[in-house]
């Protein structure tokens, strides 16, 4: 099964109206090359699930500035004033989620779970409209799992089967998103032969990855 694709072939899978998970933490570990192609292709009405909306001139931030996003689910939007502006003017829907909850919602989506129970957000606006359950005397919020049509993630290295290795703090949400989407596109800095990554060192197993594309930097 051929997983290596060029950037045009890879980005063609991302279509108007899709729910897209994008890896990265304030742009670190974000799939910048694929996102640039999404901007060039002009895909619109996207629902983006990401930790944050980065900076206005970088990766996810540029998608927001270019008005290709109709809804964002994120933990932080403070570094991109355009996200706040579009939210305040009702041009884009923004759902703010505690970062640890978002990580678990994505993990649950990929793990076949309906959601998770967390104490985070109790007694705050985060609990509005959500179920609460009590287990062994402790109260938890029910946070539903998240899934996507496509996850676009970034890794340091892939082999030709799609086994991935991440670099330092650029790992963040990428391995979780790799499990939670119907189609997974991995942008990588380097592609190596099968066998060059020791099975013990694989961070995301190849079975989660559908497409591998070489990033431009």
């Amino acid at each position: 099964m051929k997983k290596l694709m060029n950037i045009d072939e890879a980005a063609a899978h991302i279509k108007d109206g899709m729910t897209v998970m994008l890896g990265g933490f304030l742009g670190v570990g974000a799939p910048s090359t694929v996102i640039d192609k999404m901007i060039e292709n002009g895909v619109k009405d996207l629902t983006v699930i990401a930790n944050d909306t980065s900076f206005p001139d970088q990766n996810i931030g540029k998608l927001v500035v270019n008005k290709q996003v109709k809804k964002v689910i994120a933990s932080h939007i403070g570094t991109n004033p355009e996200t706040g502006r579009q939210m305040n003017e009702n041009e884009m829907e923004v759902i703010l989620v505690p970062q640890g909850t978002l990580a678990e919602q994505v993990r649950a989506g990929g793990a076949g779970l309906g959601g998770v129970l967390t104490p985070t957000g109790l007694g705050t606006v985060v609990e509005d409209g959500k179920q609460k359950v009590t287990i062994n005397g402790k109260v938890y919020l029910v946070e539903e799992a998240l899934k996507a049509d496509v996850a676009v993630i970034k890794a340091l290295k892939a082999d030709k089967k799609g086994n991935l290795v991440y670099d330092k703090a650029a790992r963040n949400f990428n391995p979780l998103m790799a499990m939670a989407a119907d189609l997974v596109i991995a942008e990588v800095d380097e592609i190596v032969e099968v066998g060059e990554i020791s099975p013990d060192m694989v961070m995301t197993p190849n079975i989660f990855v559908n497409i591998v594309v070489k990033g431009e930097k």
Binding site: F25, L26, G27, V28, G29, N51, D52, A74, S75, H76, I77, G78, T79, G84, M87, L96, P98, Q99, G100, T101, L102, A103, E104, V106, R107, T118, P119, T120, G121, L122, G123, T124, V125, V126, Y166, D167, K168, A169, A170, R171, N172, F173, N174, P175, L176
Partner: protein, 217 residues
């Protein structure tokens, strides 16, 4: 008076014990790392995905994939480890984090904390703050006592909460206050202030500890 931020950071650093795992928030809390006594080892966590965080690098050593949760370049110390966001917040929520140090817009006598939004003005998102405050064994608020004269230590927070009833200790340039069932206990005072002055700068009624210790500045 010597630098206010240094006074606060230095006092916060006295709260840790050897082997503690600690998460320092952005801004003033980050300075705490500079004052950790050399006699103890404190491991710093960065919620974007590692433990063993070291100081900022020289310009020539900056690695774009090695940043703290505020996207500022950092280093790792020998023995550091990287992980994904789900594990990072498992550490935070799962009882593995000994202390978290954060700033506040408001904090109140019941240990409620508001530090993530000002309705209609500033909605950056909660990022990891809600998980940190909910999950850390000890929650330390480190901040200037007032915001340029405007009171921040309240009887009851008026801004949207980050978490309810989770704060343990408030450390400002004026003193150290502990959240107790009876209210805020002023345990230490900066000798440059009187109890009356501290009370005047505080909306919550302070209970004065006996003996009232002198804050080391």
């Amino acid at each position: 008076m010597s630098d206010i931020k240094a006074i606060i950071a230095k006092r916060v650093a006295q709260e840790f014990s050897d082997g503690n795992l600690v998460n320092l928030g952005i801004g003033l809390p980050t300075l705490v790392a500079n004052y950790i006594p050399e006699s103890i080892e404190v491991i710093l966590q960065s919620e974007n995905g590692f433990v063993g965080m070291g100081p900022a690098p020289e310009e020539s050593e900056i690695d774009p994939n090695l940043v703290n949760a505020g996207a500022m370049p950092v280093t790792t110390l020998p023995g550091a480890a990287f992980f994904d966001s789900a594990m990072s917040f498992a550490i935070i929520r799962g009882g593995h984090l000994d202390a978290t140090v954060l700033g506040a817009l408001q904090v109140d006598e019941k240990g409620n904390l508001a530090n993530w939004m000002i309705p209609g003005k500033k909605v950056p998102g909660m990022g990891g703050a809600m998980d940190l405050v909910t999950g850390a064994k000890k929650v330390i608020v480190a901040m200037t006592h007032t915001a340029k004269g405007s009171i921040k230590i309240m009887k009851e927070c008026t801004l949207p909460l980050t978490a309810a009833g989770q704060v343990d200790l408030i450390i400002t340039e004026m003193g150290v206050m502990r959240v107790t069932e009876k209210g805020l206990l002023l345990e230490e005072i900066n000798p440059e202030f009187t109890v009356e002055q501290v009370q005047e700068a505080t909306e919550a009624k302070l209970i004065v500890a006996e003996p009232l210790k002198v804050m080391e500045i």
